[in-house]
Point group: C2
Chain length 155, copies 2
């Protein structure tokens, strides 16, 4: 994962000017490894840097995404961003916690095992697992011997 300084370094190396707003952004994304909506980003940055406008957030998110510092994912409820973690060149997928939205890498990639039907020319793929991480598992179902309630019903 990239550190604040690394993120700033990349931006600087690409000729971007390092403003207070961009420092805030770098810090935010270096600290958090989950997905953030533009609004999340805006709210956080306002605390550090008052007088921020929303369009600045959008503009910078887009720039950082084009630089490869951030990656953009479309969720059911909208667009979200996180620190790019494929910048290290290592292909992997994610388990994404529905509660805290932290991500955990899955190094297993199903593509090599997948048959493309009828000369389908594969360009890219998406494999994402959603659920609850160990810190966010619904506690309410605390039954001690909940052994055979495995419903694998799934979307």
């Amino acid at each position: 994962m990239l550190s604040t300084e690394q993120i700033i370094g990349v931006m600087s190396a690409q000729g971007l000017r390092i403003t207070d707003q961009r420092k805030s952004l770098a810090k935010l994304f270096a600290e958090r490894d989950g997905y953030l909506t533009p609004k999340d980003v805006y709210d956080y940055m306002c605390k550090q840097y008052s007088g921020l406008s929303f369009d600045t957030v959008y503009r910078n998110l887009r720039v950082m995404e084009e630089l490869g510092v951030l990656e953009q994912v479309v969720f059911e409820d909208g667009l979200k961003f996180r620190v790019g973690c494929n910048s290290d060149g290592h292909h992997h997928h994610h388990m994404i916690c529905l509660q805290c939205e932290k991500t955990y890498p899955i190094h297993f990639c199903p593509m090599p095992l997948t048959d493309a039907p009828e000369q389908f020319q594969v360009v890219k793929h998406k494999f994402e697992v959603f659920g609850y991480c160990k810190d966010c598992r619904p506690k309410e179902s605390k039954e001690t011997n909940e052994s055979s309630k495995q419903k694998k019903g799934e979307s």
Copy 2:
């Protein structure tokens, strides 16, 4: 895949009234097996049924999605709908053509092979393969791509 009559049948069986607009919708989704944006739907329906309003499209898309007739997918460029194909209860995934947006089923599901790290409680997953189907493979120069990713800062 569901036919026009089947779609209408489901809606009728659920107590929905069969209006001209809904017939258009049923016909549209029965004919096309790719993904359609609300705007696509609106444009198509206008040709068949003039005087249509946009909110009717949204309302019906939502209703049909709740009924399970349609399924809703979030793409990079927005929400899209298609005929529900999991209504038969058979879990599968899709290869989606980036050109014509037709989908091809993948019956292989990677979930059983995937290790959930650290007590991650899996709720759902998404496995989608994107590329070009045999009818849409880039023969020579496909101009329809969104190659608008310009590199900036090349002073």
